[in-house]
């Protein structure tokens, strides 16, 4: 049994406008996605413009892993602590402080029990490298060249 109802022209128009808005939002999302995916991002690298705020005591022959941390993010601090407590053989595990425009204070640095400690003062991690997830691990070879990005666990 077909239950047809009478709807006014205004409501019909409003309905079509609503669906047109939904499709336009999807198209806009797709356009943003296309721009983001086709943008050429810089390859991460150790050294300037990153600021070294704590040096590693021991040198490493196998390379350096840096956990991207924000001092206000409890989860990524825990991820760093777990990885620093059991570093993979021959690797040194440090941290890259991201999304922190002002130089981290002594209390924030004390909470980061790892070395080396780099501070991304210019926000390159997000703006030029295109990375966005805290707690990821940036892997560098012994010469400081970027190898890959992975998860802490």
């Amino acid at each position: 049994m077909r239950r047809a109802i009478h709807i006014s022209r205004g409501w019909r128009l409003a309905g079509w406008l609503g669906w047109a808005f939904a499709w336009a939002a999807l198209a806009a999302l797709g356009w943003l996605w296309h721009l983001d995916r086709t943008r050429v991002w810089q390859t991460p690298g150790l050294g300037a413009p990153l600021v070294l705020v704590r040096t590693a005591t021991a040198d490493s022959s196998a390379g350096t892993w840096l956990v991207a941390v924000n001092p206000d993010c409890a989860n990524c601090l825990r991820a760093l602590a777990r990885l620093a407590a059991r570093p993979p053989r021959g690797l040194r595990v440090g941290a890259l402080i991201v999304d922190t425009p002002r130089r981290p204070g002594a209390a924030a640095l004390a909470a980061l029990r790892a070395a080396p400690l780099w501070w991304d003062a210019r926000g390159d991690w997000r703006r030029r490298w295109g990375h966005r997830v805290y707690g990821e691990v940036l892997c560098f070879d012994p010469r400081g060249r970027y190898v890959s990005t992975r998860f802490a666990d």
Binding site: W19, G30, E136
Partner: protein, 204 residues
Amino acid sequence: MDSSAVTLAAHAAPDHHRLHRMNVFLFLIALASWWELGLRQGGELGAGQQLNLAVAATIMVLARLSASAVEALAYTLWWRTRGARLPYARFFVALVALSLVDRFAQSLVALAGRAPALAPWLAPVAGLQLLKDRLPAVEPDLWVVFGSLGLLTLARIAITAWLQSAGTGRGLRGPLLVTTLAWLATRVALWWAMDLFRGMSPLR
């Protein structure tokens, strides 16, 4: 309306009531099921240390109810613009009841996690995500977005379409097309949103 149509309508009404009563029953089971899953997952994530487990489970149930409420509203509005009335409350109850299909799929995925040898056999039913380890070249976000595609997902789409067809009194073809397109559109939107969220960072 001729006499045969009146007879059909008289038969159809009790059927609709019976279907609704069954959906209310399944609705309650679905709530209990999602609550139980919330308690279990909250416990596994250590929520008890910082967040009351009951609160975590309630949040999960409310999230499911909200998702079904929005889905029901979208279809109801769609059919309203097409000149057909889809009873919102009944359709919402039916969608929550139908979420038991998702819950069953999740149980099968968990079963495959405990017994990996079963994964290839369960994948066509529970979703392609069970083949993830065998196809490492596929992008991780595609697994997240389309990993649930399997016979249970297809059944969910078909039943959602049938509920609209029964609710509006229209044929099955239109509702099936609308539901499939809506599923595809939300999956693609999720894919793009996840990519924008992570940027060049990897997905787990």
